[in-house]
């Protein structure tokens, strides 16, 4: 019996030591960290983005002759968890670069950490200008809200002929507050009327009941309502608006592009119009075609903007590593700062002095429980 135990012990030791040996070899793997919301109020956005990142890794899983590993950490749609997730990726997993996160507030929570640790981060869809402002280590592959807000204000005034608007914003999301502000500024300028915004209402992420705000909005009789926010809250809000007899068009931003927006909103969200980054209906580059085909093969459906942005963020980082010939975080950062004319799935990506991409916006409309492409708006 004792001999058997002894044998077992030897086998165990051997097994363990071979594991250690394997660990040392694995050091050659290049680790890229991903922090995205996989649970909570933004879960759909995070999941769509990660799908795109994983697809990109399947297509291009090696750089400089080394394998790339993606480490995904759930930030739970929570600012504190987002900061923790990024610290974990840097300190425990020792990643060379970071991708994330859906949700401007979540990205901003990570801003100081990546700056201090000097590990570059590339956001896929956080659109608030403050994400990259005064932060040499944060970049993004999407446009920013001053542009998005103007696009929607122009659509409201030029296409819908709106003279007045009400704004309902989620005060706990920097995305919603920022986008609302830019929309309000642009709408006032376009109408030439300081009083064209008849009501600005507020709610919090997680709220389910918006009837009080909507009753007040209804009383002001706006021509349109601009209500950027999480897809879940927005869908409930529009449902309740229709119940209250509010029949004016609803306009929003890129976060509305989620299947949940259609499922939860049902008939109420028909006709809702929003801006986003990309649509499968209007491919912009050759890379768009590659991405769309690969996505269709893997998931058996049409791709969305967030998967496309996740794909682009990964591809940009790999391209930078390849050109720099190094996986040093500082070298990657310097490379990112110089990205110019990169052909991505969502368009040609050139990062400006703030680290933001200047790209066109797509306007989509909900029609027949589907997102239907309306038009593309080029940046000024």
């Amino acid at each position: 019996m004792k001999r058997k135990l002894g044998l077992l012990l030897i086998v165990l030791v051997l097994l363990l030591s071979s594991q250690i040996g394997y660990g040392q070899k694995a050091d050659e793997v290049i680790k890229i960290g991903v922090f995205e919301p996989m649970t909570g109020a933004n879960a759909a956005g995070g999941e769509m983005t990660v799908e795109g990142i994983e697809l990109a890794r399947e297509i291009k899983g090696e750089v400089l002759g080394r394998k790339v590993e993606i480490i995904v950490v759930d930030n739970k749609s929570d600012k504190v968890e987002a900061a923790n997730a990024v610290s974990r990726l840097i300190e425990k997993d020792k990643v060379v670069a970071i991708i994330g996160s859906y949700g401007s507030s979540l990205s901003m929570a990570a801003g100081d950490i990546v700056k201090k640790a000097e590990v570059p981060a590339v956001g896929c869809s956080p659109t608030n200008p403050l994400v990259t402002l005064n932060n040499d280590y944060y970049f993004r592959v999407c446009f920013i809200d001053p542009f998005q807000g103007t696009v929607m204000a122009r659509y409201a005034v030029n296409e819908l002929g709106a003279k007045t608007a009400a704004v309902i914003q989620d005060v706990t999301q920097d995305y919603s507050v920022g986008l609302s502000k830019y929309f309000i500024d642009a709408f006032r300028e376009l109408t030439g009327d300081r009083n064209s915004i008849v009501e600005v209402s507020a709610y919090n992420t997680g709220d389910q009941d918006f009837t009080a705000q909507l009753t007040n909005v209804k009383n002001k009789k706006p021509d349109i309502i601009f209500a950027p926010g999480n897809y879940g809250e927005s869908a409930l809000l529009i449902r309740q608006a229709r119940d209250l007899g509010i029949d004016v068009p609803f306009l929003g931003g890129d976060t509305w592009e989620a299947p949940e927006f259609l499922a939860i909103g049902g008939e109420a969200v028909e006709g809702a119009v929003f801006s986003t980054h990309f649509t499968a209906e209007a491919p912009v580059t050759e890379e768009s075609g590659v991405f769309l085909d690969a996505y269709r093969n893997k998931f058996g459906k049409e791709a969305n903007a967030f998967a496309a942005l996740g794909y682009d963020a990964y591809m940009v980082i790999l391209d930078v590593i390849e050109k720099a010939g190094s996986v040093d975080s500082q070298a990657i950062r310097n490379g990112l700062a110089k990205v110019k004319g990169f052909v991505g799935a969502t368009g040609i990506i050139t990062l400006d002095q703030n680290g933001d991409a200047v790209k066109s916006a797509v306007i989509n409309k909900v029609d027949g429980a589907k997102f239907v492409y309306l038009t593309t708006v080029e940046p000024d």
Partner: protein, 298 residues
């Protein structure tokens, strides 16, 4: 819209929200009233109830109205199981221990929900018949907003009858007064506690279904806020008192709507309002509006 119809619209909104809090608070307060246990997992049982209804409607051929009856029954048995696993072994332990066990059970159920149902929200399939709008003058009200207060009042009356007029109800009250004496008098303590938990969880699920019909977004963490709010409603009304819970629910719902409607600048403090109300009640009248005199228990 005249000023009056706006006011009535706000009132209708407030009653609709308040009756939902009331509905969830009934089960909360009943379990407390009988077992002196704050079942912090009540909100998560509520969540399970909604998800069971969701799967019942979408993935079984059972008609939706039957699912509305079956799902709370299944949820009732889950509640019963929860009691057997998390609370029964601690029945003789100090009250704090069982309270911590309740919080643990709550976290467990939330994370179980994330694992089983996934993190992405689901849309509750609201039956078409419940998804209509009635217009009265300038006031628009969803049919569900009529049904919820009706269900709440019916359950209130039914439960009061059950507890005060039936033999099982009498046994429950005896248990609440004195656990040991009740068992000496031949009351099957285990059975009564099981019934209490079954009923409490059944009510949580009914509240959940109504919540889903009104706010058709399902998430594994959806039970947390309604759970806390209805707990506050129960305390305002006097915890352990079923009628009090309903009154507390209405006060909270109407208060929240009126706060947002009349003081839009304070919208961000909507949830804080509920907790401020809780603090005020605990300072001014800790036993709540309808509560027993505090001397009895101390």
């Amino acid at each position: 819209m005249g000023d009056f119809s706006i006011l009535f619209q706000h009132l209708a909104n407030g009653i609709s929200l308040g009756s939902l809090y009331a509905l969830i608070a009934i089960g909360y307060t009943m379990v407390y009233g009988i077992l002196r246990l704050i079942n912090f997992a009540h909100g998560d049982i509520f969540m399970l109830g909604v998800y069971i209804t969701f799967y019942g409607i979408l993935y079984t051929p059972i008609p939706w109205w039957l699912v509305f009856l079956i799902a709370p029954t299944i949820t009732g048995f889950i509640g019963l199981l929860l009691e057997k696993i998390a609370y029964k072994p601690l029945r003789e332990a100090p009250r704090t221990t069982i309270l911590i066990s309740a919080i643990g059970a709550s976290f467990f159920l939330q994370n179980l929900g994330i694992v089983i149902f996934g993190g992405r929200p689901r849309a509750f399939p609201v039956p078409r018949i419940l998804n209509r709008v009635i217009k009265l003058g300038g006031v628009s009200i969803n049919v569900v907003a009529f049904i919820i207060p009706t269900v709440t009042v019916l359950l209130l009356v039914g439960l009061n009858y059950f507890i005060n007029k039936t033999k099982t109800g009498m046994a429950m009250r005896a248990l609440a007064k004195d656990y040991e004496t009740a068992s000496l008098m031949g009351i099957d303590v285990n059975k009564i506690i099981s019934i209490t938990f079954f009923l409490g969880s059944f009510l949580a699920a009914v509240g959940g279904i109504m919540w889903g019909a009104r706010y058709p977004q399902l998430m594994p963490l959806m039970g947390t806020m309604p759970g806390l709010k209805s707990f506050i409603a129960a305390v305002i009304g006097g915890i352990g008192n079923i009628t009090g819970a309903v009154i507390g629910g209405f006060i909270l719902g109407l208060g929240e709507i009126m706060l947002v409607a009349l003081l839009p600048r304070l919208t961000g403090y909507r949830d804080a309002f509920a907790f401020v109300l809780l603090i005020i009640i605990l300072l001014v009248k800790p036993s709540g509006i309808m509560g027993d005199k505090i001397t009895e228990k101390v």
